[in-house]
Symmetry: D2
Subunit: 353 residues, 4 copies
Amino acid sequence: MSFNSFGRVFRFTTWGESHGPALGAIVDGCPPGLALAEADLQPWLDRRRPGQSRFTTQRQEPDQVRILSGVFEGRTTGTPISLMIENVDQRSKDYSEVAKAYRPGHADYAYDAKYGLRDYRGGGRSSARETAARVAAGGVARLVLPEVRIRAWVSEVGGDVATGFDADEIDRNPFFCPDPAAAARWEKLIDAARKDGSSLGAVVTCEALGVPAGWGAPLYAKLDAELAAAMMSINAVKGVEIGDGFAAARLRGEQNADAMRPGAGGPEFASNHAGGIAGGISTGQPVRVRVAFKPTSSIVTPVPTVTREGAPAEIVTKGRHDPCVGIRGAPVVEAMMALVLADQKLLHRAQCG
Amino acid sequence: MSFNSFGRVFRFTTWGESHGPALGAIVDGCPPGLALAEADLQPWLDRRRPGQSRFTTQRQEPDQVRILSGVFEGRTTGTPISLMIENVDQRSKDYSEVAKAYRPGHADYAYDAKYGLRDYRGGGRSSARETAARVAAGGVARLVLPEVRIRAWVSEVGGDVATGFDADEIDRNPFFCPDPAAAARWEKLIDAARKDGSSLGAVVTCEALGVPAGWGAPLYAKLDAELAAAMMSINAVKGVEIGDGFAAARLRGEQNADAMRPGAGGPEFASNHAGGIAGGISTGQPVRVRVAFKPTSSIVTPVPTVTREGAPAEIVTKGRHDPCVGIRGAPVVEAMMALVLADQKLLHRAQCG
Amino acid sequence: MSFNSFGRVFRFTTWGESHGPALGAIVDGCPPGLALAEADLQPWLDRRRPGQSRFTTQRQEPDQVRILSGVFEGRTTGTPISLMIENVDQRSKDYSEVAKAYRPGHADYAYDAKYGLRDYRGGGRSSARETAARVAAGGVARLVLPEVRIRAWVSEVGGDVATGFDADEIDRNPFFCPDPAAAARWEKLIDAARKDGSSLGAVVTCEALGVPAGWGAPLYAKLDAELAAAMMSINAVKGVEIGDGFAAARLRGEQNADAMRPGAGGPEFASNHAGGIAGGISTGQPVRVRVAFKPTSSIVTPVPTVTREGAPAEIVTKGRHDPCVGIRGAPVVEAMMALVLADQKLLHRAQCG
Amino acid sequence: MSFNSFGRVFRFTTWGESHGPALGAIVDGCPPGLALAEADLQPWLDRRRPGQSRFTTQRQEPDQVRILSGVFEGRTTGTPISLMIENVDQRSKDYSEVAKAYRPGHADYAYDAKYGLRDYRGGGRSSARETAARVAAGGVARLVLPEVRIRAWVSEVGGDVATGFDADEIDRNPFFCPDPAAAARWEKLIDAARKDGSSLGAVVTCEALGVPAGWGAPLYAKLDAELAAAMMSINAVKGVEIGDGFAAARLRGEQNADAMRPGAGGPEFASNHAGGIAGGISTGQPVRVRVAFKPTSSIVTPVPTVTREGAPAEIVTKGRHDPCVGIRGAPVVEAMMALVLADQKLLHRAQCG
């Protein structure tokens, strides 16, 4: 099934295609009485918005969010919040070739195999434009979490790792990079990839500070399982790690153990290999996740493919694309973190009061 | 909330603790008319069963599964299938220290923070014994998928990678290792870790062959998102990759593109960087996932910790533990793959006929 | 929680308030490839639309539905279908008194008790205008059910029962009444109630013809349980019966048994006391449900009440209201029947192929 | 699909057939720290237990409930609570005829039409024995609701209405009848029906006292919609009313309005036509529901039917059956009321704190 909803009690549903008239999200289950205006959501959308530098797609979308329901006299009412963003810069003429042949790395063939037809304009529902709706919904989720501070950054582009970390740098460059030296290198890397008609992958790291111990659940709704699903649902994501992730598989037990000592308001931990989650439940340490984005599949380098009728072909994907889609992934990863945590906070309150 | 259920239309719910009288699973939504007897499930449980070599816990559990409902005259009736496995080798005396202090890397502190109490005997609900119930349920899921062949193997132990691959080797050694040379090395590695009172992590790779193109969904029920949640819900898992995973983040667009050419019954692909999934939907290639297991947290090396009352302490985890819990993760990963695919197959049939 | 979604695999979510800019529905899980245009949905909305006779509210709402996503080149794509209806005739000035005191029979007090605030304009989310979104979604559901014919009619108004039945009459009078003689009596009854500043209740009967045997499930997703929830979720509904309903409680076993005899394509039944459902599963007979609507709570007769501050008050509900809200319930009941059956059809296909 | 689960955050799943080895329920999402022992649940099962008078089936089932998980040192741990009840008095030989021909009024034909096979012994999954599992789960739900007092009674048998009401009488007769005069009449009615080889229907009324204002939700998870689904999911139920139900459809607006006046701790109501629910949310008045049970379908009066092969036949249902299944419905209705309210209480806490 389509299942365009996420969450259990704080839930959102998104809709819309790249080249339809609009896209949006319905946020259901939001606590009542929270101050909410469009101006509270717009800054998050602006961070994700394309066309702000030469390192992202040149599609010009203002991404103005409208609140159509669920808010009265500036406060949430507890009823569903409908958020809508109009598409204003579609150029459907760009996509005539995509109608005929399948772009490798894209969902074109898979959609046709599943549904027997597809909206090929800009990838239709599989377009990363859908993530604008998540970012808007994530803005609502943040209101539920005043105690939590979420920040994501790009920690790796094309295999080049940012080794420094200065949180204040993240918003000072077009790469959400916490390391000015790495940002300077990435500028060249991405420019070169763009000129080659190629693209690059990236890794986004996200941390949530202030999550109290106790959110989550033992098994199929584990906090880490929910985060894994949330992150893997983002376009172009191919891997998710909690804490040390795959590196933990190379540690010995005593290296990986996060030793504890008495602290104010609960134990203090000597390390955070676990990424703030044990047994599916938060420990009070920062919740840390790493997300791998593959390189943008839309490239102008020709790739062999087949047509809808099964004939051999070559395809180049013209149009306006991000040379490194992972960069704009950072605000999306933040939004998904907020959406998962808001849901888990309310679930915890339901069961444990 | 607790949420001990997984799946959307083919769903299972597990229950039980390490040291309770039994544990089990309810499988709901199973198609009717499938031939099913306890003997069909037992082999999968036997593969996961502890105590079969010195490389796993010495707890002796026969793990005999009983079918209590949902089967009549040897066939599934379409009503819930209740599976039960009795615990026969609990030794609760082993766990008196765990009652008092928190084992780092374990869920002890998180459970107490969430629930205010915990069943400390063998980790209670957080014990890896719960995975026996999944493996039983997975055996039912396999019946729904006669066209699919699922196989998982351990591809890395303690950072040592199995480079060879011979599928027939997987069941010839106690490590589910497809490479005899690696298996020989791992034997020494694990023995050494055990003697040191330490433990090792591992990586499990799983492939599903025969999945047709078209299973999955575009967004929050993406096939890869469901797999990520399923795998991350397994005890000790800290990372999940689809296809190339994090390595894809270091490829360029043209390297990562899985070029297509005409083939019999659909396109053929020149590579499978995508792990058989594009846009959340299967492409007809093998579905491939990699899963990172942290080293077993139960070690006899002393680790600093705190007591329930907040006093400093040191803890060693005596008892009978797997020196490398990832090894027995292989049958569990297979089960979760089967459970996700069975659900997705039925969901696809629901929407697309 | 808010839970503004209904359905399991064919699912819809509604949003919007009486006096907001718009309201709408997202339909998720719709099969792909179905021909769908706004013109396919508009006739159902037109039947429910207010202001068409003096027997319904005089609010003038064109209720034009727009499809914002999920349809490409005239066919459903399998992705979420966003339906939007603008509110054009709000008169918020009518509701100043409602802000201060609670209208008995309305949700005013309950909303304040739950949420601490409420959108008092026209009842906000509790307004029957929400049912426009259901009717639009129901129009999509009907496309999934070409084999099924659904028809609802008003069978009782203010205790006066329609004894005749001519299906062709249903759309020939403003009461969806299948009996011209009853329609003539109801005209007088409703006119009198309106002049008295009072209101009347009604009973709606709905039948689905052509439902094959086998849709539904044994227990908590019984076809009748799903219908009961669906109908009880409609504003002003206080009772639901399947088949003979409460009258069955006064029959003896042999009277209530629907005897069977051999027929073409399955058994034929001598009667339909069961309303086409046995053990939660359809039998191939017409699925029949009866739904009780209380009298409209908005009346101009003064009723004692309390203010938000807890002071005694009297309230009359001015504004534009239906003197018998059950009448316009008929198209809504049809929509809910279609939505339940579409979901059950797909669920049956999922499990049983 | 099968969907043997009910509830959103406080959820339970039942399993088991009439003639299998056992049946049970898994309760998930229960708050931690509640005192719970088998002795807390047994009294509720004993009330529902068959064979206690000549007015119920003579099947002798002790219905001893066992708690297999989720409780540690006498308190709930927050993890799933597995409840099991063994079947000890199956007599499968009674059901040989049922294998061949369909019993009118039973689910036999519907199950065969859906699943292609059925466990015909005692109705398999469609047996009212399943309700024992609900009653056990309901016993857990009651622990979540110390502020609520739930009581159900039989208010009508075979069309004979209990006009008196003395709560203390309910447990003094085998009919859960609050009116000794009616109980005396029912004794004769049921004896006569039993001697005739016939059966009778009944109506059960249930009230929950102490439900605070604010539980529920505006639309598809309305408190009344959840109750309607819960009650309609019980075997043999054909109708559900909230408050005045169908009688409300015959009232005028001013008759049906529950006038309010200032009271201690919220408004006081002059009447309770609404059954304690407005707009899907509790008002603080008693929550009142009425449930119609059809006459037991198992009767020894011969009824025309067809065989599995489609040949004409006559069937009488021998075996041990309740002459009026609605009587034992009273404890089941109470259990479902408790299960719905526990879920709604936790959901309210999730959203509104």
